[in-house]
Symmetry: C2
Subunit: 618 residues, 2 copies
């Protein structure tokens, strides 16, 4: 999962970051690896499974190709890690594909990268939740039928935690990551000492999905298996994005963490694929490949359940990172005028809530769309990831090319070749996954990605026009002073009326009270009572009677305000609305909402300034 940020996204909640982050709070290579590798490590829970599922289409013969395909993916991993080492050096301020694209490939390409990142954040939630629930239902098969509901429940839990704004320190993620990686390595090492599965409990009792007749294994099938399995590579860019979170020397430490990440991930993938071949594992409905491997290697005992729980928890945390990462991306887009500015307003917790809820709703839709099945979502996820990888790599090629012209680093040709090779591999993978999974969900990405780019560009143009109208960047006219007329809507006579007229007199050169009256006898009686009381009170302010045949409150006042403003140009017309604020919260239900109705009508139909005075009753 890409975390595109110049900050450390999981460590500190947006809007709550401490004023100065001391160096000693920053990451070393080891803590950085643990804190930032979560998404990458979690992807081994669904990556190998994606390979096996494609190859099983060609029967047991096909499954024999698991190892070569995994080795090809491990090779791509090596290329990517080497590429990202270079990205770290070239973009020490954090080089997400959006940043690299923006610097080297122009606005539109960077927007494609941004759109793919947005889709990734959303899909990461859905994939991690379904994969986490799959780990759970593999351990407790009776829950399998309710997996969609379980997914939605987990999503609701994560959403709830994020709405409450509880954000843990990145260090809190270290323990689950270490437990998960440790248990996977134990699983692999123990498995390597066995020649036969010690238990096939999870594989029994389920219908096998593998076709019995061995069909030929074509290049296309292998390509598809490769492309699907590349889902295991998601998250390798996270360290490159978070260079500023490392302790000095930042670049060196980040590079070391990146290499460590690649090594650990590569070992896990290769080790698991060796075991898949050794135990002649076949995909089984309702049980993950990882669960079968744990079963075969460790036995159907407490160790099996430890692996499943560690997997589930890591995946849930992985889903959680999207809730921290997407707001950071949206903030960057908002600063560049590609997303609503409200996302750049860190101060507003309410906005954060809207973002969390929007992400939850879209993820829930994806969960329902996929029926809670990871393998429907993984290819869609992979497309976005590869698009981002490709753009970052191509941008790096251009980076080295420009470096050379600037008379830069000597080995530019080798570096450009490495990045170019990476771009080629990930580009091909993106095309293969899109083509082979088009009808199974990839169409959604093919539609959504350009739509997002168009949306970014539309927002950008709109901000351009708004900035033009507002005269941004130019010195505006000098302010001046107008005559001020304050209009105060009145319905009864009370201390509130007195407060309102006092405020109005302070704000205006002239004050007028207005009251709306209807032809109904009861209403007329009320009006006469008000007029009599007004005469008795004699506040020195005219009470204007606005007759209205229909029972509307806002419209006659708005019409009067409009008429006054038209009749007296150069006068600043203000409508002052006074409201009593009761003592207790529930008593707000007792307010008559006249103020809200008048404010709404005046705002919609006139250019008058609206003043609201709250008179506290406590």
């Amino acid at each position: 999962m890409s975390v595109l940020t110049t900050e450390q996204p999981d460590a500190v909640p947006a809007g709550e970051e401490p004023p100065d982050t001391g160096e000693r709070h920053r990451l070393t290579a080891v803590t950085g690896l643990a804190a930032l590798s979560l998404d990458a490590m979690a992807s081994v829970a669904y990556g190998p499974e994606a390979i096996v599922l494609v190859l099983a289409g060609a029967g047991a013969h096909g499954l024999g190709f698991t190892m070569p395909v995994t080795l090809a993916i491990a090779a791509l991993l090596a290329v990517l890690v080497a590429s990202y080492r270079q990205v770290i050096a070239a973009f020490p301020d954090g080089g997400g594909s959006y940043a690299v694209g923006k610097t080297h490939l122009g606005a539109r390409t960077s927007l494609v990268a941004a759109a793919s990142l947005v889709l990734d954040y959303v899909l990461n939630v859905a994939v991690a939740v379904t994969a986490g629930v799959a780990a759970l239902t593999s351990a407790f098969p009776s829950l399998y039928g309710d997996r969609l509901w379980l997914c939605l429940a987990v999503l609701a839990l994560i959403t709830g935690v994020n709405l409450r704004g509880i954000v843990e320190s990145a260090k809190a993620f270290i323990v689950p990551t270490v437990v998960f990686v440790g248990s996977i390595f134990v699983l692999i090492v123990v498995g390597l000492f066995r020649s036969h599965p010690v238990s096939t409990a999870t594989a029994a009792g389920h219908a096998s999905v593998v076709a019995d007749n061995a069909t030929s294994v074509g290049a296309l099938l292998l390509l598809k298996a490769f492309a699907s399995g590349c889902a295991a590579l998601t998250g390798v860019e996270a360290i490159a994005n978070a260079v500023p979170s490392f302790r000095v020397p930042r670049v060196r430490r980040a590079q070391r963490a990146e290499i460590a990440l690649g090594t650990v991930l590569g070992l896990m993938l290769t080790g698991l694929s060796v075991l898949i071949g050794r135990f002649h594992l076949q995909p089984v409905e309702g049980v993950t490949v990882l669960a079968q491997l744990a079963d075969a290697s460790l036995g159907h005992n407490w160790a099996f359940y430890v692996v499943q729980f560690a997997t589930m928890i890591l995946l849930a945390l992985s889903a959680n990172t999207s809730f921290g990462g997407l707001p950071v991306l949206l903030k960057l887009l908002a600063r560049d005028n590609y997303a609503p500015h409200v996302f750049a307003l860190k101060a507003d917790r309410q906005v954060h809530r809207h973002g969390v809820l929007a992400l939850a709703v879209v993820s829930a839709a994806l969960l329902v769309f996929s029926g809670g099945d990871t393998n429907t979502l993984v290819p869609m996820f992979a497309i976005g990831v590869f698009v981002g990888f490709t753009i970052a790599q191509v941008g790096m090629v251009r980076h080295w090319w420009l470096e050379r012209r600037a008379g830069g680093s000597p080995g530019w040709r080798g570096k450009a070749l490495l990045n170019g090779f990476g771009a080629l591999l990930t580009g091909v993978a993106a095309v293969v996954v899109t083509a082979s999974k088009f009808s199974e969900g990839a169409w959604l990405i093919v539609i959504a990605l350009p739509l997002l780019v168009v949306a970014f560009e539309t927002v950008h143009r709109a901000y351009g026009r708004i900035g033009e109208r507002l005269g941004l960047g130019r010195i505006p006219q000098a302010p001046h002073r107008d005559r001020s007329l304050v209009i105060v809507p009145v319905s009864t006579l009370s201390r509130l009326t007195s407060e309102a007229l006092t405020s109005a007199a302070s704000l205006g050169d002239e004050v007028r009270a207005v009251t709306v009256c209807y032809p109904d006898p009861e209403d007329r009686a009320q009006l006469h009572a008000l007029e009599r009381a007004w005469a008795d009170w004699d506040p020195g302010v005219e009470l204007v009677r606005l007759s209205c045949a229909r029972r509307t409150l806002g419209k006659p006042i708005a019409a009067y305000v409009r008429d006054v403003a038209a009749a007296e140009p150069g006068t600043q017309v203000t409508v002052l609305i006074a409201e009593a604020e009761p003592e207790r919260l529930w008593q707000r239900l007792l307010q008559n909402q006249r103020g809200a109705v008048v404010a709404h009508a005046v705002r919609r139909e006139t250019d008058a300034v609206i003043c609201r005075l709250r008179f506290r009753l406590h």
Copy 2:
């Protein structure tokens, strides 16, 4: 169903009534009967069924008592109609049980009447919808399994229509009412000419609910059957409530309509009960008694479907009347300070929507609670109706007693006896239904009714305290003029800033601009740019810099406002928030919401007046 109103509730939407309703638009006895009898007529669809269902508990022998029980109900109907003739004469302005109770029995009794009316409005929706769907599923038995969903769909439809605010003229209700009553009479007359059912299509193929062994028929069973069947009497008070809607001489016309209503309803009930006896009808699950009678009398042909459709449409319209009636009741309660004043604010369509949605949600809960079964809801409905009847009758007894002391009408003793007898019968019925159906849902009413009364009284007390604080009814202090200080939050320099300072200068004796700055280097750079531009512009207004370590926007401004207000007592402090209003609606998404954040914080934490200036970009 009680319609408590001095207006004609179905004719004109609240807030849209024409200024003067001409006499020729008012109702004659005939059109009044048609327009106001809908609820009463519709209740024959579930009233007889309620009797049969209780009596079937004692087997075929028990069912033999259908006729005597119906005659007892018809007798009660006669008493009620005679009573309400007197109510019409005594309360020509419309005498609902709330009005009668308020005049003669004190505040708390009238609140009990009001609470029972609120519950009736809600239950009427649920009963009418389930009964209407039962008519439909009787015609199309394959829909029976989905009856709850059908109920919710019908409710959604009615809610949608009411949210749109489409309110038909009362006259539009005449045709369905006439079709329904006409088809019931045809059914009865044709049935009287038959000695055997012409068809038993609906009764076949379903398990009979009747116990085969004839048990003894006790007085309690008959009382229960009587009390349940009294559900057929709901709605007889509607004409008495709507006297002002009649043409002069109003009282005479309304009285005639009331007697006609009683006669038609009595004839229908008696006729249907004769047929029930003649055809030895037994309750069948999933088929209404009315459907069985239509089948037996008219045959399983087009005529049968006409009866079912007419029933369904009439019941749907009957449910719809609650949506018109409840707001009128709430308005009366709001005028007496027993319900939030917002309900008395006819002008606000938004409020109307809230009311419609609230009624829909509570009705939906009742539908789910009952599983879409009419016979679960009917007893609950009957309790509220009888409580209202009883209060109105007791109030009338007191009315005649006071009349006598005032030397009034000569026949007061007979009139009081009649009302007293009515009160006794309906009171007993209320107690019997509550006791016999307590565990089957009546407990809900026993809990909800006092809770509603307590809520009304709590609201009343709160308004009393608020009125005291506001000094309502007393001449307030004379208004005076304070020095005015206007604070303008600023973040960038644009035409909007210039407009804001112009407004502020017009409103205030002194203007100060404030900007919030954070220690972040990027933010500091922005601040310096703003300060430089401000110096260049030189608007003659001081720019105050509010430093804040944490990234919050509203709090530092609110704190500054509070400090200024504390330091300069006697100064009116106003915060002026200027916002650009974009050209298109979707572009509002692009606004940064700074204004909303600041307004929220200032409103919550200070007593300052908040001014909002919208600068239109179009």
